[in-house]
Amino acid sequence: MARIRRNVWSLAQPWDPVLLWYARGVQVLKTRPFADVTSWRYLAAIHGVEEQIWREFGWLKPAEHLPQTPEFKKQDQGQCQHHGWYFVPWHRGYLAAFEAIVRAAIEKLPGAPKDWALPYWDYNSKAVANPRLLPEAFAKNVWPDGGDNPLFDKRRYGRGDGVVVIRPEDVDTKTALTDGQFEGVANGSPGFGGVRTPFQHDADRDHEGWLEQVPHDVVHGRVGGSQAGQDPNDWRSAGLMSMPETAGLDPIFWLHHANIDRLWEVWRKRDASHKNPVLSSWLNGPAGRHKFILPQPNGTRKQFAPKDMLDTTAPALNYVYEDTSDPFAGQQRLSARLRTLSMAIPGAQGVAGPEVSSVAKKPIVELLGANAKAVMLSNAPTSTTIKVDKPTARKVTNSFKMNEFTARSVPEPDRVFLNLENITSDNNAAVFDVYVGLPEGADPAAHPDNRAGVVSLFGARAATNMAKPHGGSGMTKVLEITDTIDRLHLSGNADLSNLSVLFVPVSSVGAGGVSIKRVSIYRQSS
């Protein structure tokens, strides 16, 4: 029978046996030498590792070095997949390997349960008043067994002073769960699961899926944060969860990723049209010499591919989630959009329906406009203006024409995406909100409808490093602004010649700490 991964908030607080045994398992793993593939540090290094950071943070003693085995150096370290369509399947395999190793460690302890499974941190849970709080078992350095709590880490800075504050919008899963496409397209919708990529560890290329962007990236930044009073652009001030190179060292990382993994199940189950990719390049990927290989409890290493990660009840995985119910009651992005448009446009009622949502053509993505120069963000709100290309803007306007829109088998009107291109920063913990189309001088808090989304720069430092294989190109973030464009059309103010974009820091950005080389918008026609 499949083991059940439980919501941390449905467990007794603070020390339900599931959490207590997790802590004991973590404690065992932390005592193992780094070179042991089932040790805490080895498993964390698979997600990312940099010797100088680990040494500075105390995870490498002065006489210690990273493992020197060929397996570690050439395959295992820094294997995690980001910014692409392997993000969810690789992390599922990673979690399963970790869970099996922790369980094996627990089962050797007296009185251990036989059905222990990794819990998940549902930050949108209805079980408690504020599910976005860090569970107490992780937040305090005390635990029933005495001594240091294995689930606590002082490098969890949150808002700067060690208190984790996560806003509801930081963990809003609506965009991810209501997009019916797993695979995305460059510069347009990145889809639930990201764009097609090869093996890809760093975040300096291509586009992460909606799920990876929010809540995944934002929770990393909001939990890890950076130390108050220190330069947020200096990695020494960063929390463990803020950097891919250290995130796996924080015990909360695994509960966060269990929830991300659960959300993949929620997405897949909430609508019959939500399908994983069927391409061989995904199912059997990645091509090339770099494969997905992870440690097993007996110390061996096992290769896997996304096709092995499709069914969580398969013997190799053997788990289910306590709750995979649909938080949005079947709502789909496309039908919701068309319903809004049809209600607002006289004569277009009844357009929204499954006939339109079944359109499955390869979309055309086209640049629509861009700002004039690079933007440097600071701790104060920063704005820029996108100048729109008129001939291309006419295509967007034409996609809304009533005679096209009211036909029952027509494509959806153009979607529009804001691209923040080549973002460079040394501040992995930077988080900022983005507003589009705000009147000059307007208070962004008074215009929540103009909020395009939240951006976290998890992974930005590596993407900015000029010595990395991609020369410090930085990362690109995509936010959908279709709703804003729709409102402009519905208000009769479809002049898109100039579109204002406002960046409002949520966490400390640091002076001149974030550069966005180009802010652009793209249209995507189906």
């Binding site: 090339g288 640049l367 020369g471 180009r518």
Partner: protein, 240 residues
Amino acid sequence: MLRQWLQARGFGPLGLLLWGVSLCAWLLIVGGDRLHVALPLLCGGAATSVIPQGAFALEYAVQTVGWPALAGGSALMVIAMMAPALAGPLLHLWYRSLSRHRWRAILLFVAGYLSIWTIACVILILTAYLLHGSTGSELGAGLVAAAAGLAWQISPVRARCLARCHLRPRLSIFGAAAFADPLLFGLTLACWCVATCWALMLLPLCLADAHLPIMAAGALLVAIERTRQPGAGRSGLVFR
């Protein structure tokens, strides 16, 4: 099936097109462009005392081959060896330009890219002459070029130059900057390419009789290096 297999290995339609362009350039070279036909003659001549130093070598090259053939041959050599490596930059230009300006941006980029490489080729040809002149033989020049090239190939500075080849700069879409940015992209990328690959170009110029197989090996190395996906185990930090 074949399409999926190719795409999974990074051979999209553009990649295949660029390999085709490269192949055409190879066929023209093998068919006998004047630069490469004349290479043995030039390099053989360079070993004599008739061509002692740089300016004379250039004059000799121009007189023997002619400017158009010199520039054309150099461009062919660059296209043959570098075209498959340009998929990433061309896609960057394609997706980040207004649709009606895409081809213009690509032409400006290619003009900038080839102009730098053509100048670099002339310098490399002169260097090959000088190596012939100073060592007195094709083999001697080849050995010196191979030794210098090998030292460069394994140096960390070259690794940094190679990383810069993957930079994707901002592209403006309005005003003069819309013309300047793609051109500048071509110029700067070519500079990083020259810095990365000069040794692979110099070696076939020195070993004129065996230049085709050496060029082919160099082209293969360039294609592998530029299109190879950074894998796991490369997360070691290099602090700036």
